[in-house]
Each structure stands twice: as C-alpha cells, then as structure tokens.
Symmetry: D2
Subunit: 311 residues, 4 copies
C-alpha cells in the first residue's frame, strides 16, 4: 500500500462542482492512503473580522474541493470505502472562521425560502484552533476539537453537482460523523470513482444552524478501498459503534425517510433481518443525526448500534 501526498501545490486548481468532467489530479490503488491538504470553505478569503462575506465570496466559487482522485479498479456498480484516518489543522492562526452570510443559514429566509425581509448582518469571527485545546470562543466557552470533513463524495454518472449540495453522491453533507475512525461508503458511478473532498470543520453542532461551522484548512489523511459489486443508492457510514445510512433531500422528513429506508434495506440484505422486524427495531433503538439544516439539501443520518447486529 502506498501513501500519496495531495498538497496544495499538487492540487493546483481546486474545484467547486463534483462531477465527471474534471481530470483526476491523482491516481491511486485500492488500499492506498492519501494525505490531502484541504482549503477552508471560503478559500482563505475571509482574512479578518472586518471582512464582509457578501463582498468577498463569489457564487458559485465556494467550498473548494481537493481531487478528483481516481481509484483504479473502481467501476459503476461498486462502492468506494473511504476511511478517515486523521484530520489536522493547517495554516497560520487565527486559522478558524465562522460567519453569517446574508440569506444563508437555518434561521433566515434564503434563496429558496424566499422572503421580503432584510437579511441578517454579515458578521465574521476569526478564531484560533489547536488540536490540544480546540477553539476558545471567549473567556468562558471553549469548543472541543472534533474535526470532520464537511464535503466528500464521488462523481455522479453524468451530472456535476456544486460543492454546496449533498445528494446521492455524498457532497456537502456536513455530517459530523465523517470524522477520524469512520469509514464512509459511496456509490461508484464512473470509472475510477473520482473522489472529491474538502470543507474541514474543527467542530460543528447538529444542523450547523447558522450555516457555518468552525471552518478551517486541514491536512486530512484517508485510505480508500474499492468494494466490488456493492451497489449503493445513498452513502453509508460505519465506525466502531454503529452503522448509518445517510439521506439528503428537502423537506427534511424526506432526508429522514431516505436514511431509515436505506438502513432497513441494509439490515435486511447484509444482516439477515426481516423487513418489518428491522422497521420495528429501529423504531425502538434507531438514532438520528441531523447533519445540516442549511444547505440546498438537508442531510440526516439514521443509525443502529452494532451491539444490535448479529456478529
């Protein structure tokens, strides 16, 4: 197994849409490890607390993605397993950014939930992030260092989807379980899978309610493996404690329906449950993570503890 370096320099141009129309920046084999330098979601444009996001950010050039990474042997109908090995902060302090962007977020009218009201203000907070302490928000409040990758996915077959949107390919799920120790499974729709990732978050609450986490540039280490012949409808995730299906849609109940229905399917096909028994059991001990309530599609993960699965 080889370890590859996907530095900023090797990456060159970052990407703002996830699809099959971009040349791979790296070719790897199943089982290889890649150390990726991701940029923060604002690509470093929000330099200080006087910056106004609405002035420096330009749609659709948001949420830059590393990749695509071509994984040899991956073909339509397979799954790509991506294990998150570690996520380290990168760049000079204050290296973390949180902000309000007009008409974006969970408690404001938006492009889609269109209203005639004035927007909330542009506001920026720049913060220090360390692995040891996390983020000191103020004298009293310290956020833990609980890093994860907000955006990660494989190329759709013929579509190309902006990096702000989550869908069947993964994408901007903003799911805090995509953290060190987790393996995420994505549908492969094109030769080589074409994996993109970016959007590191040093910490994030359920729902990412203001629209922005503690955004930062990272050095993220992943290991990729091809699972031949495992056709997935939606992304799935696994860690030491649970298995999770991930749905992204609007309204939010559809994201939940997708996640639970896919989890029932998984329990039946892989673990031998009867369909309605799985449905009954999830009704008693299933868990739900609201990943984001702010992106063009909302994301929900539904999970069941491994202790309830047969060995």
């Amino acid at each position: 197994m080889t370890t590859h370096q996907l530095t900023e320099k090797a990456q060159g141009k970052y990407h703002y849409t996830i699809g099959p129309y971009t040349q791979p920046v790296l070719r790897v084999r199943s089982g290889d490890t890649i150390v990726v330098e991701t940029r923060d979601a604002f690509e470093g444009k929000i330099k200080d607390e006087k910056t106004r996001p609405s002035k420096v950010l330009e749609v659709p050039f948001l949420n830059p993605q590393s990749g695509p990474i071509y994984v040899e042997g991956a073909a339509k109908g397979d799954a790509l397993a991506v294990r998150i090995e570690s996520i380290k902060p990168r760049g000079p302090q204050p290296r973390g950014t949180c902000c309000l962007i007009p008409y974006f977020g969970g408690l404001t009218g938006t492009d889609f939930t269109a209203t005639l009201q004035d927007p909330l203000p542009d506001l920026v907070r720049k913060v220090h992030i360390t692995e040891e302490e996390g983020t000191r928000w103020n004298d009293r409040i310290i956020f833990p260092y609980e890093p994860f990758i907000g955006t990660i996915g494989t190329s759709p077959q013929i579509d190309s989807i902006n990096s702000l949107t989550a869908a069947k390919h993964g994408g901007n799920m903003d799911l805090a379980d995509v953290c060190p120790g987790a393996t995420i499974y994505f549908p492969v729709k094109v030769e080589g899978a074409l994996l993109y990732l970016g959007d590191g978050h040093a910490v994030q609450g359920d729902g990412e309610v203001c629209g922005v986490a503690i955004e930062f540039a990272t050095t993220t280490t992943i290991t990729v493996s091809v699972v031949k012949g495992w056709e997935l409808a939606w992304p799935r995730l696994e860690n030491d404690k649970f298995i999770m299906s991930i749905g992204s849609a609007r309204p939010m109940e559809d994201a939940a329906r997708i996640a639970f229905a896919d989890l029932v399917t998984w329990m039946v096909s892989k673990f031998g449950f009867e369909k309605f028994d799985a449905y009954f059991i999830l009704s008693q001990i299933g868990k739900v993570r609201l990943a984001n309530m702010v992106d063009p599609n909302y994301t929900i993960g539904a999970s069941i503890a491994k202790s309830y699965l047969p060995k």
Copy 2:
C-alpha cells in the same frame, strides 16, 4: 407538599383531546406531587398478536390521557413546570405493545402524505417489560428500559387538540427526553393550566419511525410547579445536562427552526447571550433530538449543554 393519587378509578373516563372543555379530575397546589396511572396508547385493546389494530382501534379515540389536573395559582402568562420523578410499568405481562397501523408511520404513505399504494400490513408484537431487564425483543436483542411520557401538555386557550398531535401546548411530542429527572415547562393559557398526560413508552428510538414505541401502561410520578410570569411560546425542557427548546410542526425543518429560534431567545433572555453570538455558538455545539417523524406534527428538540451556560 402533598402527594396525590390519580388512579384509573379516580380518573374514570380518559380523554382523547387536550383542551379547556373538560372538568378537572384533580386539583393540586404548586409543588405537589401526583402519582398517575396512565393507560397505554391503545387503551389495552391490542391484547395479543392476532389482534388487527385496524379492526380494534377507532379514530379519534386513541391515546387516552389522564387529567386534566388543575394547578392552583396557574394563570395565563405563567409557565407550568412538570418534573418527571419516576415511571414504573403497570399491568400483567406481556404488558408492552408494538404494532404497524395501516397508513400510519414514517415509511409509508399516510392520511396526509396521501398515495394510491396498498398499505403495509397490520402487525402486532406483544412483549414483556421489566424495569430490570427492559424488553427482550428476541433471543439476541434486548431493548433497555428507558421509559418516558410520550404525550403531555397543558390546555390551549380556546382550542382542543387531539391527543395524537403535538403543538405549542406540548401534546404528543414523543420526545424521549421527557423521562425521569427532566423538568418540562409548558405555557399556561387557562386558569389552573389543565395538565394532561399519558402515552408511556418503555423505550423509543429517535423519530419513532414505525409510528409506535414499546407502548405500556405506567405509574408515573410527577411534581408540578407554577412559574409566575414566564410566558412561553413553546415547551422547554431541562435536566442535569442541558436545556432544550421543543418545536412541533411540518415540514420537519420548521420544527427545527422553531426549536433553535426559541433556544436563541432563551439564551438571550435568561442567560445574557447576544442574539447572534448564541446563533454562532449553537452552530458549533447545539444538539438536536428528532423526537417523532410520524405524528400530525413532527417534533424536534434543540439543546445546549449547561456547561456552556454561565453559572
């Protein structure tokens, strides 16, 4: 402080709608404790696994409620605090019921999400429940005993709301945090508050996805207190670890918006946060519980750990 007994006999007729048009069955003072015998959501009509729910259940006579309990001194503009002291199982084994009800649940078309498809089957599981073991679902799977009250609320001012629906008054929230050790705060809209409760669940997963938890009859002990002059828009909850605001609405994102917006308001008015600082902070460490995705309104609780609040 007095302890009252609200037995089945004292209750007499149970209620299927929560409103101001029913005579109180009990009058108590602020600070009093009440030991309530609640019936299960099917009022014992699902006696065995051969029973077909669609045959024995009759809309709207579902989810019987104990009460209303009149709390002296409670008036419009106050809040009623209800502390859940304990929840004990009641009645002969198998005392627990789980079932599928046609066109009801999270992964089926319903009365509202109307489709032309055939329903899922009527299915019943009757199970033993003990405090010590929980529920032995099968030889391999044991659900823990994590009891809570599914339905609890105070009377609206002029409406009467069926006991299957959650709204500003509380009601059928199916929120697993309404468990021993928690205090729930409800808006008071009429003299005496008129508290109703029922719908004990021995355990339930996030979302209650099949529509039914492990339903059981309980002996539930609560303590009620009037908080004068605390006007609430939606129910709130507090335990040792966190404070939580509770929204009930459709689509699900509106339940989440309500919960988070109310939590911001609470953080500002009671704990001295600035509005947008609270919004930023919740975006990093807020937690979300999906209570139900099956009732006429979906319920979401948004919470923040007390460790982030000023002492």
Copy 3:
C-alpha cells in the same frame, strides 16, 4: 323550506374556534336557507390606515365565526352540503381592509418558519368595496368584485380548531371557489353538523400571498342540505363547471396529494372510473387551485371539469 336570518344581534358572541363545545345559535332543517351577517376577519378593529394590526389584534381572538348552525337530521357519517347563494357587502365605507401583520404571510418568516430576521412593517390599506365596481385600489388598478367565504366548516368530533386553521373539517381554507354558485360538502362528525362560517373576501389572489385578502363584513346567503350516508374524509366542492377535492396540510405537496388522492377516490366511487385510469386522466386535464400559502395549513383544491365525467 324556510329562510332564517342570522343577524349580528342574533349571533351575539362570535366564535374563534370551530368545535362541538359551543351551543348552536340557530337550528334549521335540511333544505333551509340562512342569511348570515358575517364580520370581517379583524372584527372591525382595523378602522383606519393609522391602526397598527399588531397593536389591536389579540391572538387567538381572530377571524370571528358566525354559528354554529345546527342542521336537523345530520349525523356522524353524513355529509353537509352548503350552497353559497349570494355574498353582499355590509357596513359603512371604506368597508374593506388589507394589511400586513408582522411575522404572518407568504413572504416572511412566521411563528412556524421561525427566523431571527426583523419583521416586515405593519401596514394597513382601507378600501371602498361595491358590488358594481369592486375595489378601486388606486387610480389605475381596480380589483373585480369576486366575493367568497374564506372560512367555513363543520365541527370536528372531539377537537376544537381555531378559526385560522384549515383541516379535514374545512375551516380557514381561503379558497376562492367557495363563492356564489358553488356547493361545498363537509364531513359531519357530530349531531346537527354544527356549521360555522365567516371571513368574507371581496377578492383574493391564488395563495393569498401577503396573508390578507380584501377583508369585509358580508351578508351571505346559504342553503344547507344533509346528504345521508356520504362519509367524506375531506371537504369537496362542486359548481357548474367542475368537481373539486380540497386538501389542507403542510408541506404544500401534502395538500396537493390529499386533494388529488381524494379526487381519484371520488371519480372511482361516484363516477365509475378505474383507479389508475382516473390517475392518468387527472395527469392530463386535472386543475389545481392554490387557495392559501399563509395559514397554519396550506390549502389546495384539485378539480376535473364535468365535461370529462359521465352524464
């Protein structure tokens, strides 16, 4: 057949919730006609353009309803047919009101779609309404006189539903087809049906997007008839041109699903269509009216022209 007068004086107290807990103000027989004096939705409190709605309106005392009218012979399982005979304006000029109410309407955050943004302004327009001209909005724009009843419904079985909300019982549908010449069918859930009505609109666009139509007091003439043994799930409507099923729910697609699914059922049970043939046909020539996108439940009517029905 008798004609009854339900004047303001005979009505006495108006009602703000539709349910079984109110004494009838009038008893009539099937086939009788009633001339009803309805109040405007603000009960005349918005007297001039300087009035601020948020100051004079008090929740939940909004949208006053005439009735309930007890119709002899109506029993659970029947339908009540209400034919709108005529709607005349009432009271001194300017007798019409339109306004913006903070956090209410289609293009603003609301109680349910909760945001942190400032509200839109309180604004009031008082306008003259005549049957001959309609409403002269300004020198260039004249709205036609197309009056209808915004709120009308029969009592639920045990619930009482505020007069701002539409549901299975009818209620605040704000459906412009409830106009002279139309017959609306409601489910009967209690003895006597208990019919309530109010909320006259001199004209209203699809969706009632700002939340308020041209609200006015009316003299409305209706004829009521009991249809024995016709059990309805949702209200239906019929006029010279079409038959319509009416769904009220959130999200809006559920209102549409309800309306179309009920219309399929109606076409099958009454007009002899096969289920999927009805579905195919509606896909080609069904019509949709968005009644309101502002009330606690959105209302949609789905219809098919009578020319496509067998004679």
Copy 4:
C-alpha cells in the same frame, strides 16, 4: 434573421444533463429561428402497451434533450429570451405515450419520499395525437391538443443538471405555459447561453400528477434573442395576457415563495411598483400555476395579468 434546422440527424446524440460540458450542435445569432426535432421523454423506447417502463428505461438516460444551441453574443449576466413559435407532432401513430413508472409520480412513495410499500404497477397507454382532434383517450374522453415544451433551459455556470430536474436554469419545469405564443427568459451563465430543450407534451394537467403527460416527439419552432444586461435569478415567462415568475424547489411552498418573491422584484424593478404595494396587489389578483408535483424539484409559476401593469 436566419431559420435553422436542428433535425434528429443534425443533433446526433441527445443529452440527459444540462450543463457547460457539451459541445454545441448549432450556433445561431440573436433573433434567429430554429426548427427543432425533439424526441419524446422515453426516447421512443415505450413502443406498445405491453412494454414495462421499468424494464426499458435506464436511469439517468431519460428525457433526451436537443442542443445545446450556442447563441452568439450571449454572456454571463444577460438573459436569453426564447419565443415558442409552434409545436407540431412528429412520427408514426400511436405517437403519444402515458405510463406509470414504479416509485415515480405524485401519489406514490418515491426515491425521496422513501417508503416500504410496494410500488404501483407499471402501466402503459399508447395514444394517437393529432393537432385537429387532440388525443382520444377513450370513446367518451378527448383531451385537447395543448402542446408545450416540458424541459427547456440554459447551461448553469459550472454544474450540469440532469434533464429530469428543474432549477434556476429552467430544466424540467413541466410548465404548460411554455407553449406557442409564450416567451421564456432564462439566466445566461456561460458564453453562448447553451440552450437545451425537449420533452414535448401534447397536453398536461396541473401538477402532472401521475408523473407523465401525453409524451410525444415534436417539431418545435423557437426564436431566440439575447437581452443584454438583464440578470435573472430564476426563469420568467411572458405572453399576451400575463407575466410570470417561475420557482422550482422542495418543499412546494418554497417554489411558491420563490415565484412570488421574484414577481415582486420584477414588478418593482421593471414596472415601478413599490415593494409592499406589489405584495398587496398580488395577494388580491395574483395567479398560481402548479406546473409539476412529481419531479426532483416542484415547479410553480406566479403571474399577474398585464392589465394590472402600467402600459
């Protein structure tokens, strides 16, 4: 002005995604007319009533699009006006197709509204279409010939969106107003605009409730013009009678919010209305068309009659 022919042969390969990654098949100038041979949405694969759609249709190769057409002079920040001149049926009889596709449509669970229920059946109807008679559905029911283009749009800037989905670029709106006599305005995001179109419907009801209209191959004549410097957020439409803004989103209320908010903006910027006056006026005489309730995004058009606009 030149008239171009975009025949099946000239088109060669049809496209299933709308984006900037495809070479134009035709270059035209502003003001030119193009006669386009569109294929039906199933690309002729549903040949008879014994065909099972689920067997012959292969996702994502659905809804083939003609184009892209490069319009000289069109640049980011402009609008492209497309006038529909005429739509003629094409190909041998029975040239029309209607069908049920499993887990697709308005009254069934779907990929997104995921349920555990069995699907509705695969069903196919093949029908004759003529301009003179329309479509004879059965001995009693004849659908009028009211043809329109279901899918039409310009390329997004960096995304490529499958031809089943409507969004800011237009796409699969299934809006019956896109018919002869109408001019539709699209945002231009890339050089040459890159116009795609297809998906002719011989007739379709509001909402396209079963998921499929009377689908047919057409010869469609359009005229395209560049409107320099008119930056649009969403598509707009104009005909002799009204102007319309078009929103596509989920849940359906967001599509309505987008459409009405955009229409307010249009009334203000082009016709001199004050913002809240426009809001008031639309609340009284605005009209709503539910275009589709079946595609990945629902589409709604909000319109105002030209008679209410200043000359």
